[in-house]
Symmetry: C4
Subunit: 210 residues, 4 copies
């Protein structure tokens, strides 16, 4: 049952080069889950049943479409960040894999929270739940990067590049979602607009570094 | 957060050979999204509930089946084109990845537009929405190829082979979908028939080159 | 648009070794579609809504569960056959890819035909549609193998191993499904039982060769 | 049809190194099915339709969310075990592939049993069905590991590491699910709590070995 227990022991983490196939499987599984979650978003846009005035009924689906676009961009962005982090990873252990699965468990909830947002975007509950799930996902991601740096799962030369994700600046993304929670109580739309900062943060950081 | 910001900077694009694993992940994610979107099409064909006359009820699902066949062929064709383009790609940067995600965001909408077409193919709205989404996808694809050629993300020797997709002939596919929009206002069926040109264009081009 | 048209020209087929990455993408896409289609089968088993007597309601889902098991075995078997055929493939061209996409378009229909079979297994239409789709898939597979042998897309030494699939014995699987169609008109159950031959054929052939 | 029959003959199993591509396909297909099954779990959490009191209605979905978290952890854990076992596999044959497909056929049922558990967790039937499916999956996994050891599909040096899964300790996981079945008749909640042992077993074993 615990066939590979020793290899996954945190104290003797796996070298990526030695176990390239296993690492590839973890990456492929992660990418698979991301790809499926992002594609399942299409099921959140409902096709009107027995509609008499299709144009009017489709107009009512507009919040669904906006929630779709937002969630596609958010999952896409989270995947890019994960992708960049894993590119620097040189070793992995069982704790990192547990953190990664927890992270995926939150990402997979997005099609649900997104449908909720599309259907009940005027209510305070929908944006709050949306923000809570993504703040949690971003925090798990942050702790995963932090753990990888401290546990020397990334190479010393990559540490500077990855550091941003594990330190204060890495808290920007969970921060945006956490701050949007009280905003939702003022106005659900205010919370939704605040999420746009997610994409501004990126360009600002990218500009500063170049 | 912006761990790999430098490597994805458009001015210093990544070499495919150097970062084969990362490139493989992008390709695998893209293929995954295509494979899921094409397979989710089956959910657009409804199984009659509590049917008394199954044969009659299934006959009513015939437009669903036609929409399925059309959309399967369209997504399959778009995947083949993407596949051929990526085979020539030697470098990638963050802008190409953003374009690619935008492109995927439109492809993933096809199961929705396809279900709409199967259920409301007699209305003008369904074929118009179908054509708008695919014209947008084809235009994003065109600009992605154009950007790759101009940004020297493809090798000089491949530039001739890829060029067709980034220049005037590359506008044939978005053109077919754009022209079908006014046709849908004359007759929804006329628009649907015009999409068959998508597959004729292919054979004509293939014949001319051989 | 037809960036790779030349390479996919049937007269100058691609060498697998030269374009290993592209071949890997085709295989990955095919496997992805198979994996998604086989997993979507779970959606054909309905969870009773607001049930008062869960045990009784679940008993009514028994045909759904049998259809699930049958379809899982059938898709699994078709995947194994495809997997073995592709292992011998040394070259590919655009016609093989079109045949492969057509084949996948029929496999992806199985979750629909399987749900139909689970819900309307007593009617003649459900097993007939099920058999027609799988007979068509098996025939496309047969013609794909035949084309690969004639077009020298498999190596001479593999030709003997693959031959069975492209010749008379290769017609056993489509034959079983075709013969079951008239049987369904005598009794739907007779057709369903006849499909079990699919798994007997296998062991007989395997025994003869060993 | 039986193109690769000889290679998959149990008496002359395939060497992993010789047929790396084929082995990679089996692994990719398995990972794909796991990734899709784990992601489809999100569809078991229902979005309330036309809710007047969203907070109250969402509270009723709490069992759905708990079932989701449990099933995500269970599928994740089964995937980790499968992943570790396959890392030691050096050869494969047709019987191992049939066992693997049977195993996957049970894993794919989890989104169904999970939805049942979320909707009918107070009834005895739901936890019993949940436990039966997972006990069966764990037993098939156990017999797969056992077969691999006896059929010398794993290397002698790996045999010690894998042995735990194929011997008495390997029966711990099916054992937990089997024992929970009679517990469900005392109280459904008792069965559900007993499944937590699944994650305790792990840490105990890991501690003992380190």
């Amino acid at each position: 049952m615990e066939a590979g227990a020793r290899q996954f022991d945190p104290r003797t983490p796996e070298e990526r080069s030695e176990r390239e196939t296993e690492f590839a499987r973890i990456v492929a599984f992660t990418d698979g889950v991301f790809a499926i979650a992002i594609t399942l978003l299409v099921l959140t846009i409902e096709v009107p049943q027995g509609s008499k005035d299709l144009l009017a009924d489709l107009r009512h689906q507009l919040p669904d479409l906006i929630a779709y676009a937002l969630s596609f961009a958010v999952i896409g962005r989270f995947w890019l960040l994960h992708h960049r982090f894993f590119a620097h990873l040189e070793r992995f252990d069982s704790r990192l894999m547990t953190l990664n699965l927890t992270y995926l468990g939150l990402i997979v909830l997005v099609p649900f929270t997104s449908e909720l947002l599309g259907d009940y975007g005027d209510d305070v509950e929908a944006p709050v739940i949306y923000a809570v799930v993504l703040a949690a996902a971003a925090l798990v991601n942050w702790s995963m990067v932090r753990y990888a740096i401290r546990g020397r799962l990334v190479n010393p030369e990559s540490r500077v590049a990855v550091a941003g994700s594990g330190e204060l600046t890495g808290l920007a993304i969970p921060g945006i979602f956490l701050i949007s929670i009280p905003l939702a109580f003022i106005s659900p739309y205010l919370a939704e607009i605040s999420w746009a900062l997610l994409f501004l943060v990126r360009s600002t950081l990218a500009r500063r570094r170049s």
